[in-house]
């Protein structure tokens, strides 16, 4: 199976409360770039689908990672190559010249060239929180989709049984490849991904894998290709434009109560919610 994984770098989500907003603009100076967590989960999922987990060094498929951004975003791609991805593509673009729809249209053209069996994406990037590229891409390609996947079982690499995490529980879908799947948090649990190559008894470590030093060195020799955005789409118009940003309204300072009795009394007489 060949899997294509779109990958975005975001400013450190664990410190998102430190972003500054001045003059209606967001300033992330001082925050480290990190891979979008959901995209890292998608890379991990792609690797699990294209290997025998019990002897992962021999590849049983191909994983292509792709990002949109300036030259320095190649660091994000190299990190994915070091964990096991086979090939990387950087589509040269500036963040401010992109929106979800343009990315989906460019990815469509890339998918038509690369011909993957599966596009695995994070369900959302945790900077824009837009949650749309996977679904848009599926529609532009005319492919089926399974969003918010918590589990994936590959059925002979012809179809996938996907457990989608929905508001009321789990919705199980079967998609025939090629398809687009977007992944949720629990896809990286030890038993969440079942591939045809891995013995069913195999337990993965919880979370995403780390790159060994040797693999980091070896990743420098893996192919990393640059593609111009204009070679994928001639229509670079944005469908969404932001005019300004503002910080969230501050909550009024709360109080500490000393006892449960005081808490209940305040909830009754002050907040009047009991």
């Amino acid at each position: 199976m060949k899997v294509l994984v779109p990958l975005k770098r975001v400013s450190d989500p664990d410190n998102a409360n430190k972003i500054k907003i001045a003059g209606g603009k967001i300033d992330t100076t001082g925050l480290e770039w990190k891979p979008n967590p959901f995209d890292e989960y998608a890379v991990e999922t792609a690797l699990r689908l294209t290997e025998n987990g019990a002897s992962p060094k021999v590849r049983q498929g191909e994983v292509v990672v792709v990002t949109f951004g300036p030259k320095e975003t190649e660091m994000t791609l190299r990190a994915a190559l070091a964990t096991g991805a086979d090939k990387a593509i950087r589509i040269d673009a500036k963040d401010e010249d992109l929106d979800g729809d343009l990315i989906a249209r460019a990815l469509k053209a890339l998918v038509e060239k690369e011909k993957p069996d599966l596009v695995l994406a994070g369900k959302q990037a945790v900077d824009g929180d837009s949650n749309q590229v996977g679904q848009l891409l599926a529609e532009y390609l005319g492919w089926p989709q399974a969003t918010f996947a918590g589990t994936i079982k590959s059925e002979g690499d012809k179809s996938l049984l996907v457990g989608r995490e929905v508001d009321g529980g789990t919705l199980n879908l079967r998609v025939t490849l090629p398809a687009v799947v977007t992944v949720d948090l629990r896809i990286v649990a030890p038993k969440s991904v079942t591939s045809v190559h891995t013995p069913p008894t195999h337990n993965y470590a919880d979370g995403v894998r780390f790159a060994a030093l040797m693999a980091i060195m070896a990743a420098k020799k893996k192919p990393l290709i640059e593609v111009k955005l204009a070679d994928l789409t001639t229509d670079a118009a944005l469908k969404i434009k932001y005019s300004a940003f503002e910080p969230p309204a501050a909550r009024k300072a709360g109080v500490k109560v000393k006892t449960v009795a005081e808490l209940v009394q305040k909830l009754k007489t002050e907040a009047k919610v009991l």
Binding site: S11, P13, A16, I19, I26, F38, D99, D101, K123, Q124, V126, D127, D129, N131, Q132, G134, Q135, L136, A138, E139, G142, P144, Q145, T147, F148, L161, E165, V166, D167, G168, G169, T170, N172, L173, R174, V175, T176, A179, L185, R186, K239, I240, Y242, S243, A244, F245, P247, P248, K252, G254, K256, V257, T259, V260, A261, L263, V264, L267, A271, V273
Partner: protein, 317 residues
């Protein structure tokens, strides 16, 4: 301007999330119609007709029994085009977020996700939406003639039924997309619960990893007493102490009840993003430095295993 509200169904009834999408239409102040998609959806249709919509449009067909984006999006797109709708709105539930982008792509429309506000300035719509886990809000405009938006349920109070009966009109079901032949609904494992849905509850009792295996044992009696929904932090869900559908946060459910109890929750950024909008927040944590206290209206520094039983006793007095 003409707005199309996509209803969300649960079994044969209207899900309450739909009421928030109707509120969006009322806030914009333009005429709206409601589109009900399903199979045997008479009950939902009758309910949808009581909100003052111009029309309730119904696509009722056996092929639409299960909510598959590949089957629903062509219906929405055809209705939006045929009725000359300018804005298509759905609530940003897992259902809405699944189908709305496919609708936008079919209509060549821009799509703004999970909006928390809208301003109508003489027909020019500006949308407000949270970014960076709610650590900033952006004001955006959709550049295309047709606009698709999903609305955050906790920010658009549920519309009240105004009585009356909007005219009901059946719409033709378009031919299925080729993609529909390659997706099969297998099953829905719905969590059985007598408690209110997280998105609709007035009181939520949420727990963190500190509860360990005693998550349900400790929190259920409190939730039952208050008629509350139960929520959980990501850490508690990841550790398997609570099922994933209880997760409150940036990437789980976003809630804004009258009263939110954070029990043994430290207050990670991604959790705060899902509950900061609550009207009253109570935090119980034995760590006085826990970040949750920065957003709590009432903080109690105490071990939750003694505090929760005391709380139950005190509430019963």
């Amino acid at each position: 301007m003409n707005i199309l509200v996509i209803a969300e169904l649960h079994e044969d009834s209207l899900r309450k999330s739909t009421h928030s999408a109707i509120t969006f239409a009322k806030n914009v102040g333009a005429p709206f119609s409601v589109l009900v998609i399903g199979s045997g959806a008479d009950k939902a249709v009758q309910e949808a007709a009581t909100f003052g919509a111009q029309k309730v449009l119904v696509a009722d067909d056996a092929s639409l029994k299960d909510p598959l984006a590949e089957r629903y999006a062509p219906v929405v797109a055809q209705v939006a085009k045929g009725g000359n709708f300018d804005v298509v709105v759905v609530t940003a539930s897992s259902y809405g977020k699944d189908i709305a982008p496919r609708v936008a792509a079919k209509l060549g429309a821009g799509y703004a996700t999970d909006i928390s506000g809208v301003k109508n300035d003489g027909g020019k719509l500006t949308f407000k939406r949270p970014v960076y886990a709610g650590n900033a809000f952006g004001y955006c405009e959709i550049q295309t003639p047709v606009k698709v938006v999903s609305v955050r349920q906790s920010e658009f109070a549920a519309a009240e039924s105004s009585g009356g009966a909007s005219p009901v009109e059946k719409v033709a079901v378009p031919a299925a997309d080729p993609a529909a032949a390659r997706v099969e609904f297998v099953s829905l494992e719905a969590a059985k619960s007598e408690r209110p849905d997280l998105g609709e509850a007035k009181v939520i009792v949420s727990g963190g990893r500190a509860l360990k295996e005693r998550f349900a044992e400790v929190l259920d009696p409190l939730a039952n007493l208050l008629g509350a929904a139960v929520g959980a932090s990501r850490a508690a869900c990841d550790a398997g102490y609570a099922p994933p559908e209880l997760q409150v946060g940036q990437t789980g459910r976003v809630v804004a009840p009258q009263l939110y109890f954070a029990i043994g929750i430290s207050g990670a950024i991604q959790h705060l993003a899902g509950m900061k909008g609550s009207k009253n927040i109570v935090a119980v944590n034995k760590d006085p430095e826990a970040p949750i206290f920065q957003v709590a209206d009432y903080g109690l520094v105490q071990d939750l295993f003694t505090a929760v039983p005391e709380l139950i006793t005190e509430l019963k007095k």
